[in-house]
């Protein structure tokens, strides 16, 4: 294929798929104004094409994005139709692609599997979602699946993202509740130097970093909510809502921990795995970037562990305190009952009908008796108050 043929091929490809908004995003991201002074001839031509030919986007259902990037410049080259990907990649060895899928129908996933020769087990996991996070190295691609989490009205909803990393492609498959990776795309496209140096591996780092960075704010918000509840925890007034909330918070944290723990192993794979697999995807200078992700994973686990402990303590304390509060009231009511029992006995005493009860006939008998009753009650009251039974 000659250069001319190639460019006219690209022309056709991009003409039909690149939309207006793509250009807007690219402009605002400063992509067209590349900081890289050593832009190759080919890249310039690609750039030119990019600004010339574009069209309306959404293609196959479930395909959110499908962009080609140049390995020589690190810049985005254009938008591709899923069905054209293999031809474009075969035609231009300089190009790598980044495909973003969201709950793709089975046929789309099958097509992708076919186009990139993905392993059936990996595709099965990606299709099913809700999988424990794992990393698996297949013959010519690396497969990563992680749990993603979002806080929606005090409740954590989980999704999953699968990543297929090849030497020249990065495919993400999102399932369930998840944020789109527009932010990551913008970030990557702002650093063409790194896209150039690390290729699809840099994209994978960006997405993992983004997912992990999303865990910490969740634990922070939960921590804040817990802190706000501390007033109620230490009130002896029972409030079922508070308790229920603490219970739900604890259940959420348990789920969150289970989602985050396997990320430790995934980061460890990048850091301690000496296989040559990784050399295909990352230069050794990429290692600190994965250690940075691992730091956040460990920090998140620390936060979860700390909050879990405090939460359990809070529940135990609250329940015990509610019991203490209730007992306190019963205790005080019993004291009052005791105070009332004394004059009740005393009044009952002179309600007896014996014929010979001289005090009944004393002129001041009644007044003396009432005085004694009042005094006895008052002294009892003072006594109970003093020993803090009241």
């Amino acid at each position: 294929m000659s250069h001319a043929q190639y460019y006219s091929f690209l022309f056709k490809v991009f003409y039909s798929h690149l939309g207006f908004w793509d250009l807007v995003i690219m402009q605002t991201s400063g992509l067209t104004a590349t900081n890289d002074n050593v832009v190759s001839e080919v890249a310039l031509a690609q750039s030119a094409l990019l600004t010339q030919h574009c069209s309306g986007r959404p293609q196959s259902p479930g395909v959110v994005n499908c962009f080609a990037y140049s390995r020589t410049t690190g810049l985005r080259v254009g938008y591709l139709a899923l069905s054209d990907v293999s031809e474009v990649m075969a035609a231009d060895p300089d190009i790598f692609v980044w495909i973003g899928l969201f709950e793709p129908p089975a046929e789309v996933l099958d097509e992708v599997q076919h186009e990139f020769g993905l392993h059936e087990l990996a595709v099965e996991d990606a299709a099913r979602g809700h999988h424990r996070a794992k990393i698996e190295s297949y013959e010519d691609s690396l497969f990563v699946i992680v749990r993603t989490a979002q806080l929606v009205d005090r409740e954590i909803v989980f999704g999953s993202t699968s990543l297929f990393l090849g030497e020249r492609f990065l495919i993400t498959v999102r399932q369930g509740a998840s944020v789109s990776y527009t932010t990551v795309r913008a970030h990557c496209e702002k650093h063409p130097q790194k896209m150039k140096a690390m290729g699809p591996g840099y994209v994978m780092h960006g997405i993992l970093d983004f997912i992990v960075d999303n865990f910490l704010p969740i634990t922070q918000k939960l921590g804040k909510q817990l802190h706000e509840l501390e007033g109620e925890i230490f009130s002896e007034q029972f409030n079922k809502g508070t308790l229920r909330y603490l219970y739900d918070l604890k259940s959420e944290l348990i789920k969150l921990r289970l989602a985050v723990i396997p990320l430790r192993e995934i980061c460890g794979y990048f850091l301690y795995h000496d296989n040559e697999d990784l050399k295909n995807y990352f230069p050794s200078s990429a290692i600190p970037y994965f250690r940075d992700i691992q730091d956040h994973v460990l920090g998140t686990l620390d936060a979860i562990e700390g909050q879990s402990e405090v939460l359990r303590l809070a529940m135990d304390t609250h329940l015990a305190l509610v019991g203490v509060g209730q007992n306190e009231i019963v205790k005080r009511l019993a004291s009052w009952a005791g105070i009332l029992a004394v004059p009740t006995l005393m009044t009952s005493y002179y309600g007896m009908n014996f014929s010979n009860m001289p005090e009944l006939h004393w002129y001041y008998g009644y007044y003396i008796w009432v005085a004694i009753m009042v005094l006895a009650s008052y002294l009892l009251y003072r006594k109970l108050k003093k020993v803090k039974w009241l």
Copy 2:
């Protein structure tokens, strides 16, 4: 032995054992219509034999199935009598067998041990069942025993399955509650390519995968039941049934965890064991398939761990809440008793029989006193209501 002799031998063997239903199953599984285009001459001949000769099945007691498969085609060749197995295997080096036993009597097991030269300790474990899951590599076979679990009316019943894997045979011995492996057989026979590539190792993978896949729905159902109970957990009304159910659920989870934990090591054996043993049974391309099983084991353990924690929390919370609810009632009854004690004292007061009690003779004395009583009681009621003692 010439081809002719061999086929007539097979004819005799299969004639007497292959029944009508076998053919039905094979037909519905699409076995006769093989997807494999490269079917060897021998395989075709075998296939021919298969459709020609068959007879009534159940042979020795405890023998559920005993099929021969061709390593060249991956297809099922026919049903064998246990006593013929060694002769057939000696006669046809292309054949491997899959034998399924269910609670076999000692004699049958002895026969199998003798036919395949199994280790006495392995056979002892297989015979006894209810064994902690383990894997053991003997000289010319691999022995695996795992606990199986089923949920029967909210209760988990356990069984065990032993697997003997040789280069040319796979024997399963089920003990106690367990599902038959018909599903696995159907699955394997639908993938003759893989049967061809991995032989009995593929069958072993299929069975382990099936057993492990059966654990997760159990935890999911238990999780659902727990979720449905949450309403009752947070009711302050004590219900012994709820508590008993939570207790039983926790006990079940403890047993389930103990059954699943050793599966981690078993998967680890396939993944990290570098012995040449494994090379006899599996090509290295089989490793991701065992990692897939391990994922499910880990996912199940996560679920069990999470549910155990939530369950313990639920029990503690429920018991504490029941106590809170009871105390609340006692507290309110005590408040009511306090309210009643006041007019009781007051009525008792004018029940005294002193001669000189002028109020008794006031014309409105009675009415005034009753008014005071009602007012005092009402004020007390308001007061208690306000401080939430009532």
Copy 3:
């Protein structure tokens, strides 16, 4: 030494020590009717000697048994006096001895130490007993000490057994509560082929297997007792005996776990230790036999762990339920007190002595009032019943 000389020496040795009962045991164990077809000339001669010469047994105090076995046949050759052991072993290189001691006095242990060159620290441990299970490899012998356990009337009593394994001897020293190893002896003597193949190592395996096999029934019995108690655990009626029993059960399990845990390491020593030490004592085919023991250790630990968790849960639940039950009664008594307080107040009301209380003089006043009282009490009763306070 010529054959003739040797046999006359053996004659003297055995003549004085082999008793009547030894022969009985050997007969019933089927020892004289050996299954081994390849019995050497020497063995036959030994066998002959064995049936010819025997005498009364118990020799030194603490010495339960002291037998010689032939390595060539695996058969028992005869009973020895402790003081003759070294001479016999020196005279006949084919012989290995199995000595069983029970709480031997210091002098006997000193003699044994001297005869076999045992390490002072090992002998110290064996003498003291009640030691944490351990394994130690000295220059020319292997030392193992393990805790043994027996269930005597719902209580676990512990003892210890020390084993000294040399290339040609196996010495057991039992301390405290323990079962004799007659069963093991019978088992070993029924398998002369294995005695031949593994020598004293096979005896050691047999004893360790026997000790470990004795742990599991203990946990099973405890588990059964716990299961039987579940009825009482869920009764709200407090029974101090139940609680005390649960407490003791838990304490026992803690002790049992501490006794079993180090056995894991001991099995591990046999399985993973690559020292040449082991080669002196065991052929590599012995490894699965030790793994079999390890399986039982792990199974026992699983059972202990599971039961400990359930037990703790049971205690917490029982104590909470007793509290719930007591509160329930107090609650209902308080409700009854409330019901009674109403008519008490009402009767007290018309016990007042005001002059002007017209109702007192109504003709049906009394009957109306009583009717109101009964109605009020009944309505209150219905109300309390409905809200389940009663």
Copy 4:
């Protein structure tokens, strides 16, 4: 550059930045009176310069200190402006610098990053602070970030310190609550021999040692406060303040543990990491110094763990005891109510209005009855006292 040129350059540099107080500090630290007898020619000249030229200090905001030290003498040479650092270091290969920053603005941090070629991820972490402690080895520098803690009025406030260690520089960046490292500076400058031998590595050790040494007094103070509270823990009188304090103490300890745990790994890095990285920064004789730090970390963790356990025990005990105390009072009030109920019934008894109640008309009826009442009450009181219900 000739010596003369160099000195005049240094003259300019130091003239403008070294202030009066620097000299005072140096004098009191005994710096000018060096204990080192082998002071090189260059060092003497530097010393001379140091006492000659100095000026007012605070330069860029956030820069607390910026000193140059001689590797030949281990002595401080002078104060530098941040912008001159690279020139001075290039000019004089004998010099290494120690820069102390406190919450530096982004520009200052950028400048430092630029001057020393620090890794972007490390600078990001240093800027953000509140990071889980970690150590990371970049190409030509070592990055350490640790959490610092201070006890302010019974509350622990956390900060963080980042350290960048190069062959010829040590930069500290403090964020949040933290003590300045003046003490460390004084300590280092008192040991010029060690500054000479280990260079910036010695400074790093000093700072880490200082940070770690600050953790132990915190746990000791908390332990002391806990010990002082034990009196209140065992009082049955409920005091919400005590409970709240215990709760807060536990929360603090959880945070503190999370801050200290990763320090273990950091010390481990220095002790067990065999990379050649470390050789650039430390001689092997420095290892015991880092083990010394690790000892303190482990001691602190022991203290935290021990206190956490005691604290949890204290809370559980206190809450249970408060409940016991309240129940005790209720129990005694109920006993008193029982005692009063008896005479109340008895007085009510003779308040009945039956016409035919002969006792009412006995002359001593009243007195006998009162005597019986008093006696009954007294006996009941004695009985309850005896069974400890009262």
Copy 5:
């Protein structure tokens, strides 16, 4: 130095320091009557000197003992002044010294550091005491510091012992509560063969063994005390002393565990450390002796762990039982109150003053009513007794 010169030098040295009691101790320890048949010429001369020259002992404050031993004979040669140690060691290469210090003043420790070239960090730790147990290998000495414990009136008091082991010296520094090592000295001197074979290493083993052996009796005594308390734990009568004691016991065990845990690592150092360091100090035959110590450490940790669990269970059970006991009393008092309330209502009933209450005027009305009251009360009593509310 000729033999004559050497002996006259030794004469001077020992003349002034060896006292009367030293000789007594040596005599009673059987030291002069050596069991060693191969006593060298030099040793005999030393022995001679020893019995000839001795004088009063206590020298520098804090120096408990300072003895020289002969490596050739393993026997004690004589007592030394601290200041002479280096000269004697230089003069006689056969000699090694054992110095015992107790809370030495800084100057004495400085002197020792100087004489033996000890590392500053080790000396710092030894001076401070109360340090987490650790082992550290410096260039020409091994440093060990361990926590020691003693049970004084139900309370554990802690001290620390530091050991400096060189090829020719062993220095112990005791701080805080601790027993003197006279017993160890006597033991070592009874085994000159081992002193000869292992030198100062044997002394170190003896001291570590002694320290570790002192832990187990503490846990045994605590265990016995706990067992004695079990009667009180299961009494429902609250006794604050019991609870306080359990609490203190738990706190002590936590401290004890923290003191013992690091000893595991210290033993591990001797057992698994392959450095050549150890070869200087111990022959490989010493390893079982350190494993023996490790056994005791593990046994002690087992005991502590077991007791901690039982203790926590005991506290929880006791507190719950006290609650149960109190509730029981309240329940029974409430039942009695219920029984009394019935006749109270009944007596109040006929205290009503209605004009028209015919029963009041029945001749046997009163008697009938009282009979009904008594019957009702009795039936209620029976009923409550039956349902165990009473």
